[in-house]
């Protein structure tokens, strides 16, 4: 996490539209945001697109950042981008399913056609429900406190604590028990 005093001049520069400051901001946050998207999608190409979308959207939205925790604001934007991506994918899936049922009803196909190998963590993360997976990744990659995460998700801190505890415990159990497939 970048120190807020180091980050302040960069954000001011970004608000003024300085490309150098945006470049620095990308250098500071690209790794964590990419990790966040990758662990949620398990796909490098999609993560590339989402990371690109995040920083392009940042150019448009940086003026609306009114201070406070920049990390919280950035990861909130990243979460919104991921939610948009999920909605788009659901729409596409429905369309594809509808077309398939008309043209080739007997043929079924696994949606995951990627050849890239997934690590054990990625496989076990896939066994968690979407909201829990997103909460764990938000906590890990945004490095925000529980209080900040609860505020971002507009839920009581007790709810966030409990969901995250249950999710992490389940993930740990899966990692310790399940053999790597």
């Amino acid at each position: 996490m970048a120190k807020s005093e180091d980050l302040a001049p960069i954000i001011i520069g970004c608000k003024k539209g300085d490309p150098q400051c945006f470049s620095k901001l990308i250098d500071v946050y690209a790794s964590r945001c990419y990790g966040f998207f990758y662990r949620l999608t398990g796909n490098r190409t999609t993560s590339d697109d989402l990371l690109s979308e995040l920083f392009v959207r940042l150019v448009e939205k940086i003026g609306s950042f009114k201070g406070g925790s920049f990390d919280s604001w950035l990861f909130k934007t990243a979460s919104n981008i991921f939610a948009d991506y999920l909605r788009d994918r659901q729409r596409q899936d429905k369309k594809i399913q509808a077309q398939k049922s008309i043209l080739q009803p007997e043929q079924t196909e696994n949606r995951h056609q990627e050849n890239e190998p997934l690590d054990k963590l990625q496989v076990q993360l896939g066994r968690l429900d979407g909201d829990t997976r997103q909460l764990i990744m938000l906590r890990f990659y945004s490095q925000l406190s529980f209080k900040e995460i609860a505020r971002m998700r507009s839920e009581p801190i007790g709810t966030t604590l409990s969901k995250l505890h249950r999710g992490l415990k389940k993930l740990r159990d899966l990692m310790e028990q399940q053999p790597y497939e």
Binding site: F22, S23, I26, D27, G35, S69, L121, S145
Partner: protein, 172 residues
């Protein structure tokens, strides 16, 4: 030091569960987060970052050009509106043939002779005739009271005369 380092997980859990359960929950989280540390996600490709930076720069240029275009458009609209208003006002003035007065003239509401008079009853004609009428009436009233004239006919004439005077006076 990030915001996570500052928070005490055990204390946070103690708000909701007892001390032992809080310690256990905090430990669960710490151990699970260690697993996440052991499996780092892949890093973004340097070519991807270069492409994103180029996209951002292009986006900034477009946004600047957009701002400039919007500003020019606003100024053009304001100038056009001003020209239209000016033209409309000019046409209206031309059609009406409005003549702007060159010099103001003043005329007194009360005639100068009356304003400067020292004896208003003599200088104002209306007031002089009214005074004469009053004097006539006064003499006639005195005649009636002294019994020199026939009271009935004189009283009737007097009333008619008073009515005329009254109406003439208020007419001005």
């Amino acid at each position: 030091m990030n915001n996570q380092d500052k928070e005490n997980l055990r204390q946070m859990f103690e708000i909701f569960v007892n001390s032992d359960q809080a310690e256990e929950a905090a430990e669960d989280i710490r151990r699970a987060e260690q697993i996440l540390d052991e499996y780092p996600a892949p890093e973004p490709d340097s070519r991807l970052l270069a492409r994103i930076k180029a996209e951002v720069t292009a986006g900034l240029q477009q946004s600047k050009a957009g701002i400039h275009r919007r500003m020019v458009y606003k100024i053009a609209v304001a100038a056009a509106a001003a020209v239209v208003i000016l033209a409309a006002v000019s046409v209206k003035l031309f059609e009406k043939g409005v003549v702007v007065p060159q010099k103001f003239t003043y005329t007194p509401a009360i005639p100068r002779t009356i304003w400067e008079s020292k004896l208003l009853a003599d200088d104002d004609e209306n007031l002089a005739s009214l005074t004469a009428e009053f004097e006539d009436i006064e003499s006639e009233v005195l005649a009636v009271h002294s019994g020199k004239t026939n009271g009935n006919s004189n009283m009737a004439e007097l009333e008619i005369e008073l009515t005329e005077i009254d109406s003439d006076f208020w007419k001005g």
